[in-house]
Symmetry: C2
């Protein structure tokens, strides 16, 4: 039996890295009459489900995916956030274990 762990991977530009999208949003604010907003930084949020026997295994799979696929370590940092867990009695599809 495996447990389905739902993670969020929050990817943000590292401090000091230019963020042109964030600057563009700041430029819009005065036109909209929204005041007092600063330091806008735009990143990605990826939510995904990892089927694993325990949380540590699931977390290391999610961290590997975050580091190798979802972020560029030169300019971005990521954080992992566990947002849910549900036990599943069916075996995960497409793992092809064959036993």
């Amino acid at each position: 039996m495996t447990i389905d762990f739902r993670f969020a991977v929050n990817v943000t530009p590292k401090p000091g890295i230019l963020d042109p999208q964030g600057r563009a949003v700041e430029g819009l604010l005065s036109h909209l009459g929204i005041e007092g907003v600063s330091s806008v930084r735009i990143g990605r949020r990826v939510e995904l489900t990892v089927a694993a026997a325990d949380e540590d295994t699931a977390r290391s799979t999610a961290a590997r995916l975050a580091a190798e696929v979802l972020s560029n370590p030169l300019i971005e940092a990521f954080g992992l956030e566990l947002i849910g867990a549900t036990s599943s009695t069916t075996s995960p599809a497409a793992t092809g274990d064959g036993r």
Copy 2:
């Protein structure tokens, strides 16, 4: 005196909305030998600072920005997350570069 509230706005595709980027990531996984990952959904994470007298005022400013600028309400949902608060005695600089 105002308080600087730091919020994260998490924008995710609504359930049922196609997410081609998420599908592309899922397609990569078998090549990388990462197994057991499913339901990948890719959204945005925007972090911003709102200077306001109290948390309710700051939260409503952040919510307005999230709904009008940072998300498309037809296909995306957003959540607000308070990630920090610091009282500031100086007025907020328009070009502050974050933490």
